[in-house]
């Protein structure tokens, strides 16, 4: 992959990121959406209020953010692919039920279009401040997948992938992108991607065999329990309480450790399916920029600007943000003397990058004033790291802050 795919092709459409998300959901087989109006994600709901009934799906505007995710999980428990969309404040409200979906292993897709924060923040300005919330927002220990598309076309393909991962791995998947990408209008060609998406559309692993031998959370080698659809004769119990393989609440330490341990480890053997990233010009890079969303798009320009002035820069862009593709990051940065993380927050992605790279120096541009980071700023900082670092004189470890 060379660049974020934005190039016009044969049959083109001029659509926004949020529009692409709605189209991707329908292509992936989403047939239920519950939402609550919030800037800058409302266009997804508006599109689906018309798009879903056209394909015999259901759209409902609920009374609040909590009800929206609750209804989505309810629909998914009924066996229907379901999604909700929101922004920061609404994402906060959804966290408890997101934890329920993670714990009870109910597939669903939650779109969070990031805006300025904290609190009501800046509803119409971009931010990338929910990176850590997407990972750690609900209480207790649970696994989560978060995807971070960076273009209109990628929102479409990642929405499809979000459903596929969610259904295949029985997990909530967060689709995380910023206000710029959401409301940016780009010319995209979806025909291909749509066909690919539909061909790949994953089905949940459904229970089969006699009721007597079905245990709702028992697994085989893949670690993913087969789900039962109400009406299929299994009549099982689903709960947010810690449960044993039979699905009923338990406080038996061995049973809890066994099921929760399996849950927490369940993504590890599926990293091939989950991990996704873009490594652009990293092979010979002396400075690797690590970034997502609109900041990563600025970084693509910055890579070219650096190289034009003789600084060998590269970009590592995690498309799957959680679990972080850490092996790929280590590989992409193996030969680099410096790592730079530009992001629209006070330091989140840089923390994870620093964690993965250990004592290697990680520099960062942190901005939280509602303005995107420009290519020139990234290029300048990246070049300065090389100018001042010099071969073999690595800076002290730790994140350096700016702005």
């Amino acid at each position: 992959m060379n660049a974020i795919e934005t190039a016009p092709a044969a049959s083109m459409q001029l659509i926004s990121g949020n529009h692409a998300c709605a189209l991707g959901a329908i292509a992936a087989g989403c047939r239920f959406f519950a939402g609550y109006p919030i800037t800058p994600s409302s266009e997804i709901a508006e599109r689906l209020s018309r798009g879903l009934p056209e394909v015999d799906g259901v759209f409902v505007q609920m009374e609040d953010e909590i009800a929206s995710i609750a209804a989505v999980i309810g629909a998914s428990m009924g066996g229907v692919k379901a999604m909700t969309a929101t922004s920061g404040p609404g994402f906060s409200l959804k966290q408890e039920n997101l934890g329920y979906a993670a714990g009870a292993e109910i597939p669903c897709v939650i779109v969070n279009v990031m805006r300025g924060g904290p609190s009501t923040g800046m509803p119409t300005r971009p931010a990338q401040g929910d990176i850590m919330q997407a990972r750690w927002g609900s209480h207790g220990d649970y696994p989560i997948i978060a995807l971070a598309p960076a273009s209109v076309r990628e929102i479409y393909t990642e929405t499809i992938r979000a459903f596929d991962l969610s259904e295949t791995l029985r997990t909530p998947v967060v689709l995380l992108y910023d206000q710029v990408i959401a409301q940016l209008t780009e010319t995209v060609e979806l025909g291909d991607a749509g066909a690919r998406g539909r061909a790949a559309a994953a089905e949940r692993k459904w229970a089969s065999g006699p009721r007597e031998s079905y245990r709702p959370y028992a697994v085989d080698e893949d670690g993913i329990p087969a789900m039962s659809r109400p009406g299929a004769g299994y009549r099982v119990h689903t709960t947010g309480l810690n449960h044993a393989e039979d699905g009923f609440p338990t406080q038996n330490p061995e049973a809890v450790a066994r099921n929760l341990g399996r849950l927490l480890a369940k993504f590890e053997r599926h990293r091939d399916l989950i991990d996704s990233w873009q490594a652009l010009a990293c092979e010979d890079a002396e400075v690797v920029i690590v970034s997502i969303g609109i900041s990563a798009r600025a970084a693509i320009r910055a890579v070219a600007m650096c190289r034009a002035r003789g600084v060998r820069a590269g970009l590592f862009r995690p498309v799957t943000l959680w679990p972080f593709p850490q092996a790929a990051l280590r590989e992409a940065t193996a030969g680099a003397r410096a790592v730079l993380v530009p992001e629209l927050n006070a330091g989140q992605l840089s923390l994870e990058v620093q964690r993965i790279l250990g004592d290697r120096p990680v520099d960062a541009i942190h901005r939280y004033n509602g303005e995107p980071i420009t290519p020139a700023e990234i290029a300048e900082r990246a070049s300065s790291l090389i100018d001042t670092t010099g071969a073999g004189s690595a800076k002290a470890p730790g994140v350096r802050r700016a702005r």
């Binding site: 459409q13 047939r31 239920f32 519950a34 599109r47 018309r50 798009g51 009934p53 056209e54 015999d56 259901v58 409902v60 609920m62 009374e63 609040d64 909590i66 009800a67 609750a70 209804a71 989505v72 999980i73 309810g74 629909a75 998914s76 428990m77 009924g78 066996g79 229907v80 379901a82 408890e96 039920n97 329920y100 039962s228 109400p230 009406g231 299929a232 004769g233 299994y234 009549r235 099982v236 119990h237 689903t238 709960t239 947010g240 309480l241 039979d246 009923f248 609440p249």
Partner: protein, 293 residues
């Protein structure tokens, strides 16, 4: 229904046919009214011949919320206050299922109050059984939105000074298609009310006055569980006992029976009708509004 047929029906109804034997013994305190409400619900399900495989029960958090685990159906024990919202998604996605919500007074009226009033307004076909014992039992007996004035709870040591909700009046005002209240003192009547609620084509709200014997009863020195059930006659003064209670009636705070009914369009039906119009407009853009690709 005459007294004879009630008895006949009781004879052929075996609650064990609808319970998960592997979950016994249950966790309710001795004398808790929730077990009586559960039996009445399952009796109603039996008399309406609702297929267990088509039955989905969604419950919230609290003592009432625990009941779903005992029912031999597809059961969902969800987050505190949200069972109506979960059930809304389930029922909209799966109109072939019979969806029942079991909730308590705290779950339904405090943390989940917003979902209740909007479910009443939306009028999606769901039966919401709210077990009202005037207290948060599971967490140790704190004051709830339905705790009567002056009652002692673990957070109103000197007696409750907040006015309590009249849940049925609230549901009716919010537009619920079916609203009723009954007490656990009279199980056949309770079963009949639940049956009527289950048969209602829209959102049905059924409030069941039950006794938290172990915590609320003890704190308020209300005696044994049998004494508490008897108090339902003398203290609640429901209209059902107008003829049997010998005391002069005070203001009827909590009347029983079917309290409100209307035949507003059911939401799921209405939605599916509108969807047909959207679809035909999409198939035939010239005839309808411009369709989106």
């Amino acid at each position: 229904m005459s007294a004879t047929t009630m008895l006949d029906s009781a004879a052929e109804f075996d609650v064990r046919d609808y319970l998960r034997a592997e979950m016994m013994p249950h966790f309710l305190c001795p004398g808790c009214g929730h077990g009586i409400a559960l039996r009445a619900l399952l009796w109603a399900v039996h008399e309406l011949a609702i297929d267990k495989d088509r039955l989905a029960v969604v419950s919230g958090i609290g003592c009432a919320g625990r009941l779903s685990a005992y029912i031999d159906a597809s059961t969902f024990h969800v987050t505190h206050g949200r069972p109506i919202a979960y059930a809304t998604g389930l029922a909209l996605a799966r109109p072939d299922l019979h969806v029942i919500v079991i909730t308590g007074d705290g779950d339904c009226l405090a943390i989940g109050g917003n979902h209740l009033i909007h479910a009443c307004r939306r009028n999606l076909k769901l039966t919401c059984l709210m077990l009202n014992n005037e207290v948060y039992g599971m967490t140790g007996g704190q004051v709830s939105p339905t705790t009567s004035e002056t009652r002692v709870t673990s957070t109103t040591p000197l007696g409750n000074s907040e006015p309590h909700f009249n849940a049925c009046a609230l549901a009716a005002a919010a537009g619920a298609g079916f609203v009723g209240r009954e007490v656990t003192h009279h199980v056949p009547k309770l079963k009949e009310l639940i049956k009527a609620g289950l048969a209602h084509p829209g959102f049905a709200f059924v409030e069941v006055m039950t006794d938290c014997t172990e915590i609320f009863g003890r704190k308020n020195e209300m005696g044994s569980s049998a004494e508490m059930v008897l108090r339902q006659k003398s203290e609640l003064r429901p209209s059902a006992y107008r003829d049997t209670v010998d005391m002069p009636f005070a203001a009827k705070d909590l009347p029983t029976g079917i309290l409100a009914r209307n035949d507003r369009p059911e939401y799921g039906e209405a939605y599916r009708r509108a969807a047909v119009a959207i679809k035909s407009a999409a198939d035939n853009p010239a005839a309808g509004r411009k369709s989106r690709q």
